[in-house]
Amino acid sequence: MSILIYAEHDNKHLKSETHKLVTAATQLGDDIHILVAGLDCAAVAEQAATIAGVKRVMLADNPAYAHQLAENTADLVLDIAEGYTHILAAATTTGKNFMPRVAALLDVVQLSDIIGIESQDTFVRPIYAGNAIATVQSSDAVKVVTVRASAFDAAQEGDSVSVETLATVIENTQVTFESDEMTKSDRPELTAADIVISGGRGMQDGEHFAMLERIADQLGAAVGASRAAVDAGFVPNDMQVGQTGKIVAPQLYIAVGISGAIQHLAGMKDSKVIVAINKDPEAPIFQVADYGLVADLFDALPEIESALGS
């Protein structure tokens, strides 16, 4: 069993998803290879080479892969796909974007967002916004799988392996990168944070998120939001936690002014401890919260802030 993992990175740093994918891969076999594709990302490959259990790291460093566009990335993965029984990528926007192309071009079904591995061909994945868990078996020769990283622990660091450079360059001219606009934040990344504090429609406007940010800074937490808060324009969409946003499973999740719609719960109900602060005692969020505080968030948040400060 040879397993290829597509590394999740931003051209500078390897992201924690990759370590978690290695853990998932060890449940499938021990011949684990990692592909790092990007631009000026040699450092990322070096970081990937130190993950325990990884046998081989391949680096494709070229402007064609700078923004990890689906067309070029999928073709690159296909180019080296031969011999692998499993191809894994994180179920991030990057993985979700290019992996179905890999599957289609290999003429195999993709298994999306798996949260468990039963055997070489049998995987566990949530469906219906996490309201049902399906165990599925694929009869395809190659398993193309996206992995919900939050469902696996990160692999440890180990002895470094050498990095091989791939010379292949595949570039699709039908699509070109124009620009990006990244949200700047000094806080930990939402999907990797140990503590997440999220605001919903109850925050009333974007400026009030500053209250959450101050608490987040005291706790070393990331700030998230419900779809209602994003749709109302309070905060950018990359902060959205839910079925259609990011899936998080931190040690502590604090939901502030969030009712707890199905779509939101799908993104956070695997958190270890859930705290809900809401003035509506009937809000569904209280049905999953370990600790619930029925209070006006505009009273509660300043109190929490001063309690943490003291």
Partner: protein
Amino acid sequence: MKILVPVKRVIDYNVKVRVKSDQSDVDLTNAKMAMNPFCEIAVEEAVRLKEKGIATEIVAVSIGPKACQEQIRNAMALGADRGIHVECETFPESLQVAKILARLVEQESPGLVIIGKQAIDSDNNQTGQMLAALTKMPQATFASAVEIEGDSLKVTREIDGGLQTLKLSMPAVVSTDLRLNEPRYAKLPDIMKAKRKPLAVMSTDELGVDITPRVTTLKVTPPPARSAGVKVETVAELMAKLREEAKVIS
């Protein structure tokens, strides 16, 4: 320019699904069904492009049992000009749906395919990407803004960490994210009019796509239940619990 919009019939997003006691599947008996929310956004975007004079014809496609015609009529009430129903007893897998759509793309040669980024039942997020790969069209997934400039397309995508703008040559496949637009409601006269719009029915055999499943569902179970915890009265009590009982903050 012609726009092809695939729409899927799924359980209404407000319904809390139940798993069958024999663990074979979720129980959809008598459940309220509707058009997948992301597909509604796709239809809306196509209609807006028609209203701007960019699109000339909108073709709505649905694949699955006969009841899917309800969602095609729904799309036509919202502004699609005609419908194609690819009838089969069950809902095929994403790869098969992509293959069926690829055949329709061959037949219809649309300038643009606008598809929802994921169906809220299978949560796969695959079909658009697979269709693009099979038809060799460029793709722009998770679109939150679409602008047509001559024969190219500028799409802003929602990615982890922010937004990304791509330029694509057409024909192309765009998959919709929630913030692309706010879908309209169908008005009664439009619903009546939609009943008279043409709807072609085809079979998967006619299109030459084998829909034998490749993935077997061994079982479907409810997720581990999370029970309600305790209500605390004050912030002080909450902080004490988090520090001493849950030990999640220091």
